[in-house]
């Protein structure tokens, strides 16, 4: 029997931790707090939790059920469900390949920052000096030391996507290391990663708790927390909030990539995945909320720090221009002084009025950042102002690494499991060789993200490789199960596994609610893409010291199109091929019958 020879998790806990480690990733830390900020702070939790219950949980349950029942990776599983639908599995694998190629670059950056934290002063705390040792490098002065370290010393970014530049050795070395770490974790097979996920799943929580304790004790953290928790319910009327909530749930749980199917395929047939699905989804959402608590205290600290520095600068400017005693101007009487000086010495005041920046705490808190900008710039800026910054830096970047590697293990599993299911490949290659070749291939392709324009290509992959295609895949998945395979048959399968039929709630969400939601998202994104005009990106201008918007050149747009099409086209293509094959077989059979009689 095939069941006995398939390897399995040592205990159900490893499966749960693997799912948690995969689902809880960088998106929880850098995407969810951003969405909270954009959509009215605490009020965003309402659409988020509704979407979790209505869309996220049912789909998570569905994928685990498929994996555990079919006991194969995504390609085998979907071919078994319906031969015409084998393309869904292949599409999942294609998306996972794109994902693994670009995602590990983030781990490379985390390694880079981690290694650079072992210095007396953090390298992003100060601007480097120009050659005559009298001023700072102009690019650094115009932006900030953390921006400079990210854009210049880490990425050495070029001014546009067309300007390729060479491979950055530091980045390339870190990328190779990241792939070696991933290989180390998966080379004994996905089920053996069960030991690794004990660590990758729990360590981030430890760091987040430490950071939360430190974060809320920072000066000004309460400003950030207050900002987050005052719900601006008017923002809920904006449909974008609901769309973002639905999208975030989908991607945060990692649906559609085939990783959950792969993990579940190593379960025992009677494993109670229903309870586990609920537990993992709830943990994932709770982690997002927890991470935004930490992020908002850090935001509050950073905003307050910048606000107070701004006040100090203004105070110094006034004191120096008007030669007043040092402690005459305090933050609370600053405005009075400004109006007084403006009235008494209008000419002199006019000379400096352009330099007086309005210091506003609200506007500092309003600067919402997401993605690599949040993780690598905003956080490192906050860390450099904390006491014992090296320790906090090491902790933080180790946490990012664990989150990233945990998610990578899931992505890699989604590719390796179907590969190992293939009898042909298993016969000719040992599993270590197979996995090694896959890692090597992804590493080599990933090196293109370490060039000077690599970050722009990374953004393309980040925005397009696994977004639209995943929506499509998840939609096809749910329609296949409910209407092609049959909900009744699926119910029976589940009953065989866990001993009872799924509650009517699951059936309603699978057959009606989730498909409708996903179709709605699909329509919205298609319309948005069509009406959006030429897609643009943020390019770093070293002369200005900030980002400027540029349009993608035609070949970059072609790559975007290719990313979207290559995964989605697998579904109709495989259906067509299977159809043609079946027709050929039928023709052969009828030939045999006619010749026999």
């Amino acid at each position: 029997m095939v069941e006995d020879s398939r390897p399995s998790w040592e205990n159900p806990m490893q499966f749960v931790l693997a799912c948690v480690s995969y689902a809880v990733g960088l998106g929880n830390v850098w995407r969810f707090p951003y969405l909270c900020q954009m959509h009215g702070g605490g009020g965003f939790l309402i659409p988020y939790l509704i979407m979790l219950v209505v869309e996220g949980l049912p789909l998570f349950y569905l994928e685990l059920a498929i994996g555990q029942h079919m006991r194969q990776g995504s390609i085998g599983a979907w071919s078994a469900i319906n031969p015409y639908m084998g393309g869904v599995g292949i599409a999942s694998v294609v998306v996972s390949i794109f994902l693994t190629i670009y995602y590990n670059v983030i781990n490379a950056w985390a390694f880079w920052y981690l290694f650079h934290s072992f210095q007396g002063t953090l390298p992003w705390a100060e601007c480097p000096l120009s050659s005559n040792l009298t001023t700072y490098v102009p690019e650094c002065e115009k932006s900030s030391s953390t921006d400079y370290f990210w854009y210049r010393e880490t990425l050495n970014i070029s001014s546009s996507i067309e300007d390729h530049g060479g491979i950055q050795m530091g980045q390339a070395l870190c990328l190779v290391l990241s792939w070696m770490v991933v290989y180390l974790c998966v080379l004994r097979g996905t089920e053996a990663t069960g030991k690794v996920v004990y660590f990758t799943a729990t360590f981030p929580y430890l760091v987040m708790i430490i950071y939360l304790i430190r974060g809320v004790t920072l000066h000004g953290a309460l400003n950030g927390l207050k900002y987050m928790f005052t719900p601006k319910l008017s923002d809920l009327a904006d449909p974008k909030a609901w769309i973002d909530a639905a999208t975030q749930i989908l991607f945060s749980l990692g649906l559609g990539c085939g990783s959950l199917i792969a993990f579940a395929s190593y379960n025992h047939h009677n494993n109670n995945f229903e309870k586990q699905a609920i537990v993992v989804s709830l943990i994932n959402s709770a982690t997002s909320i927890f991470a935004s608590l930490v992020t908002f205290s850090i935001y509050g600290f950073k905003a307050t720090f910048n606000y107070e520095s701004c006040l100090d600068r203004t105070q110094l400017l006034l004191i120096n221009t008007f030669d007043l005693t040092e402690d005459s101007i305090k933050p609370d009487n600053l405005d009075d002084w400004i109006s007084h000086l403006n009235a008494s010495f209008p000419d002199k005041f006019a000379t400096i009025s352009s330099q007086i920046e309005g210091c506003d705490l609200e506007s500092e808190l309003d600067t919402a950042v997401e993605g690599t900008g949040l993780a690598f710039i905003v956080y490192s800026e906050a860390i450099k102002n904390m006491g014992l910054s090296q320790l906090w830096s090491v902790l933080y970047f180790s946490m990012l690494l664990m989150l990233g590697i945990g998610s990578m293990l899931g992505n890699v599993a989604a590719i390796i499991t179907p590969l190992r299911d293939s009898a042909f490949l298993t016969r000719h290659f040992r599993k270590e060789t197979l996995i090694g070749m896959m890692c090597l291939f992804c590493c080599l392709v990933g090196l293109s993200f370490t060039t000077r324009s690599g970050n722009y290509w990374f953004t393309i992959f980040n925005d397009y490789a696994a977004t639209f295609s995943l929506l499509f895949i998840v939609l096809i998945e749910i329609i296949t199960i409910c209407y092609v395979y049959g909900l009744k048959k699926f119910e029976k399968d589940i009953e065989l596994m866990i001993g009872h039929r799924p509650h009517w709630y699951w059936k309603i969400t699978w057959s009606v609610v989730s498909p409708v939601l996903i179709i709605g998202l699909f329509i919205f994104y298609t319309a948005d893409y069509i009406m959006g005009g030429t897609p643009t990106y943020q390019a770093w201008d070293s002369n200005l010291g900030k980002t400027v918007t540029k349009e993608y050149p035609p070949y970059a747009q072609a790559v975007i199109g290719l990313l979207l099409v290559t995964s989605m086209i697998c579904v109709p293509l495989v259906a067509l091929i299977t159809f043609i094959k079946k027709k050929k077989e039928q023709a052969k059979e009828s030939k045999i019958i006619t010749t026999a009689t």
Binding site: F115, L324, E326
Partner: protein
């Protein structure tokens, strides 16, 4: 006679004041931020501190030019403000009516900047000479970047781990192959389809239940 002496005496400070002009060609503005630097330990800026400043500057001029003729009186200060900022000029000790040019003063200050700062317990940032940029301390550059060292360590650990796992997997597989071979060799006698021939010899045969009720199912011809 007395009147003439008095007139001459009164002219000297007037002359001195005329030499020291804010925004003068050879004048420098100095700004001290004592409270920012020392907080609670800040000292009061008074005439004596001013005297110390002029003496320190005269010392700097002596050191730079090598001429020991500079004196406290060579440094003239004017336009003091409560900020604690003022302008100063340095007069030529040989000819008190002329001023030492700006570049020379700048070089002198640059040379002894550290000494001047320490006299007042201040730093380049808190004792500012407007127009003379502070020499920023270059960050220490170790010979081998620290990050490469840490990178090397981690890379070494990971490589060792990978090799260990691959080799142990290889050894396990070899052991399993040898064990399987041993198991087969250990079986005594001749094997036929996994059933030892000895068991077959002693019996009339084994009744295979799969075929026992099929007789009813065969269709009658």
């Amino acid at each position: 006679m007395l009147a003439r002496v008095l007139l001459a005496l009164s002219l000297v400070p007037a002359l001195a004041l005329a030499l020291c002009q804010p925004d003068g060609q050879d004048a420098y503005k100095v700004r001290l931020s004592i409270k920012t630097a020392l907080g609670a330990n800040a000292y009061e800026w008074n005439e004596s501190e001013q005297f110390l400043f002029r003496a320190t500057l005269a010392f700097a001029m002596r050191k730079y030019t090598g001429q020991e003729t500079f004196n406290v009186s060579s440094v003239i200060v004017c336009d003091e403000t409560p900020r604690v900022s003022f302008w100063f000029v340095v007069t030529n000790p040989n000819d008190t009516a002329t001023l030492i040019p700006k570049n020379a003063v700048e070089e002198a200050i640059r040379l002894s900047r550290n000494r001047i700062n320490s006299a007042f317990l201040l730093s380049d940032k808190t004792l500012q000479f407007l127009g003379i940029p502070p020499t920023l301390a270059p960050p220490s550059q170790p010979s081998l970047p620290v990050w490469l060292i840490v990178f090397g360590v981690v890379m070494g650990i990971v490589t060792t781990g990978i090799l260990a796992l691959i080799i142990s997997g290889f050894i396990q597989r070899k052991k399993k192959d040898i064990e399987d071979e041993d198991e087969e060799e250990k079986q005594e006698g001749i094997m036929e389809n996994g059933i030892s021939c000895e068991t077959l010899e002693g019996k009339e045969g084994v009744n295979n239940g799969a075929y026992s009720h099929d007789e009813d199912r065969l269709t009658q011809l």
